[in-house]
């Protein structure tokens, strides 16, 4: 029972990290209508920035995270401006997808060039050892608790931001109908830039948490969590903020539980299998809206 609880809490923690990444994915997808394949690599960039400032230069982890958030935001805005915006109205939606893959290759190989292929050991940004419950039979690490809390805070913040502020309303409008939003006087470019800024900042936060929980850092650290988070976003219904949260949590918990109880080699297959099953039953994800195609 206790081992189940431990796995469950670990799954919750991993799920929260997926959820934070998926929130970035789902917002960018909902508003810019593009799969940002480089999103996972933004996480990796965030990890390396924190690694430099915190582990190498000995800066306070919180300050390092703040620097990472700022730099990742700038990276996101620049990427959107240089690589994605020129292709926004391209004849084929695949054009911007391939460019995103190009950006992903670029970031991975730049990191490879600067930091090398060897694994860097990341020091956790949360020094707190955590708590032990039931007389020590259930240990919960500090980073686990912080991760879950941070993801909840981000979810609440994003929900309030999207539904209560003018900028958030603009995002909703752009995601529903870009042309109509533009006619209503909404600055579409600015809205999309803001979305990328938020998404990239979330990637930096996710990076800090991910690298603290799984402290080995390589140029490819972000790729697989990025894909899994995208799966989570689709699972929850892409474009939906609560959906991304639910999708992330479900995915994380299933992944850890199948790692513990079924097979660590087959865990990924099971995670992707869940996606397939959910999409067959609900083709637009758990909370996705089904938009009827009209003639």
């Amino acid at each position: 029972m206790m081992s189940f609880l431990t796995s469950f809490v670990n799954g919750l923690s991993l799920g929260s990290i997926y959820a934070i990444i998926a929130l970035g994915y789902t917002m960018v997808y909902g508003i810019a209508k593009m799969l940002n394949f480089a999103h996972g690599d933004f996480i990796m960039v965030g990890c390396y920035i924190i690694f430099i400032f915190s582990s190498n230069l000995g800066l306070n982890p919180v300050a390092a995270i703040l620097i990472a958030i700022v730099l990742c935001t700038l990276l996101g805005i620049t990427t959107e401006r240089v690589a994605y915006r020129p292709l926004r109205n391209a004849a084929s939606p695949l054009a911007v997808l391939i460019t995103a893959i190009g950006v992903s290759y670029f970031l991975e190989n730049l990191a490879l060039l600067i930091f090398g292929a060897d694994t860097k050991s990341f020091t956790s940004v949360v020094p707190w050892a955590g708590i032990s419950l039931f007389g020590g039979s259930l240990q919960i690490q500090g980073i686990t608790i912080v991760t879950i809390l941070v993801s909840l805070l981000i979810l609440i913040f994003l929900q309030l931001f999207v539904h209560k502020t003018r900028e958030g309303q603009a995002m909703l409008a752009v995601s529903q109908d870009r042309g109509a939003a533009m006619l209503m006087g909404i600055d579409v470019n600015k809205t999309i830039t803001l979305t990328f800024a938020i998404g990239s900042a979330l990637a930096a936060v996710a990076g800090a948490l991910l690298a603290s929980a799984y402290p080995s850092l390589t140029p490819y650290t972000g790729a697989m969590p990025g894909i899994k988070a995208f799966v989570a976003a689709v699972l929850g219904g892409i474009g939906s903020i609560p959906g991304a949260m639910i999708g992330g949590l479900v995915l994380g918990i299933i992944e850890i539980l199948s790692r513990t109880y079924i097979s660590s080699q087959l865990a990924d297959a099971i995670v992707f299998g869940i996606l397939v099953v959910v999409l067959i039953v609900r083709p637009t994800g758990i909370l996705g809206k089904n938009i009827q195609e009209k003639v």
């Binding site: 690589a83 109205n89 391939i98 670029f106 790729a223 990924d268 297959a269 299998g273 397939v276 067959i280």
Partner: protein, 356 residues
């Protein structure tokens, strides 16, 4: 009138493609025979060709059927492993040529079946949902084969997902798939000439499919599904048909793959989603829907990072920058506008000079 003209141009273009492939093959063979080719480059010829085959297969799915698949490496994986198993079991039983031919047929049929089975749920979805599910299936295939232990002894076939010991085989039993260690000892039956012949076969099949009544039905679904359905085209049937053919051809590339490599492992390096993405890059840069473009792009883009080897550490960085730049120059509406204006001004200038 217009239609007739387009069709004849189409079939002419088709023979140009075959001609390019055969000419490239002759040139490479001459270089090889004359010893002008480094052994490193020689080793790249077969991979280059099977990636061209997968690019053709994926283009059938993305360009002709109009559905984005990110799981074609998975079909390659199925073709590779099923054919390798056959070759391994029958090694020494029959002549090499016959064995490879049967292995090829098995690889193609098994991946077609897998493609068909995956197509049933996948093709109900649309757009990016479909893409992510094909990615998921690709990863599932790779993962399951990577975790599988398969052995054969006098009692029959044993399968386990735990360890080689769990197969419970007789001492003289033969382990075929050793989990993550993969398959070793597949006979090295494939070579550049065979790969080129199969590439030509893939081209003939795909071109004929596109030019056939079935192919036109598939393209009508791509252009407007609802309109196609309303004039009585069975949408699901044609989608399944194109997807299955595409999977079968990707499986064929997998057969070449497994008969050209000493140790066949189901790792991300060979069959992960990043391989599917790499092939998608070939398809898009070659031109979505252009079969010839896929072949040319696959060859150039596969060789490009290898030819940049002199630049060593910077090659993938340069490759990525080139990729982004090419996409923007080729596809950005503003860049297209400027390009057209530029060529128009040149044309006008030439006309003026001509009349003067």
């Amino acid at each position: 009138m217009l239609k007739k003209k387009m069709l004849s141009r189409n079939s002419k273009g088709r023979f140009t493609t075959y001609g390019i492939v055969i000419a490239a093959w002759i040139i490479m063979e001459i270089f090889m025979r004359a010893g002008l080719m480094s052994s490193h480059l020689e080793g790249l010829l077969v991979p280059m060709t099977y990636y061209a085959i997968v690019a053709v297969a994926l283009n059938l799915c993305v360009g002709i059927l109009g559905e984005l698949s990110l799981g074609h490496a998975g079909f390659m994986c199925v073709g590779a492993f099923s054919s390798a198993l056959f070759s391994l079991v029958t090694d020494g039983v029959m002549p090499d040529g016959v064995r490879f031919l049967i292995a090829l047929v098995i690889g193609v049929i098994v991946s077609a079946i897998v493609g068909f089975l995956i197509g049933i749920p996948v093709l109900r979805l649309n757009g990016d949902y479909l893409a992510i599910v094909t990615l998921a299936f690709g990863e599932i295939i790779k993962n399951i084969i990577n975790a599988m232990y398969l052995g054969v002894d006098s009692k029959g076939v044993h399968i386990s997902f735990e360890s080689q010991m769990a197969l419970n085989m007789e001492p003289e039993g033969k382990t075929l798939i050793n989990g993550a260690m993969g398959v070793t000892g597949t006979p090295h039956d494939a070579n550049f000439t065979i790969a080129v012949i199969l590439l030509l076969l893939a081209l003939v099949v795909v071109q004929n499919f596109i030019d056939s009544r079935d192919g036109r039905a598939v393209m009508s679904i791509r252009d407007n599904r609802i309109a196609a359905e309303s004039i009585g085209i069975p949408v699901t049937k044609y989608k399944m048909l194109a997807f299955t053919i595409s999977a079968a051809i990707a499986g064929m590339a997998g057969v070449i793959f497994s008969h050209n490599i000493a140790t066949l492992q189901s790792t991300s390096q060979y069959f992960g989603y990043n391989v599917s993405i790499m092939i998608l890059v070939y398809v898009v840069l070659g031109g979505i829907g252009s079969i010839r473009g896929s072949v040319i792009a696959a060859v150039i883009l596969y060789l490009l990072p290898e030819l940049l080897r002199g630049l060593n550490k910077y090659r993938m960085l340069i490759y990525s920058v080139v990729l982004i730049a090419v996409m923007i120059i080729n596809w950005a509406p503003k860049a297209i506008e400027k390009r057209t204006a530029f060529f128009d001004s040149i044309r006008k200038g030439m006309k003026r000079n001509g009349t003067a």
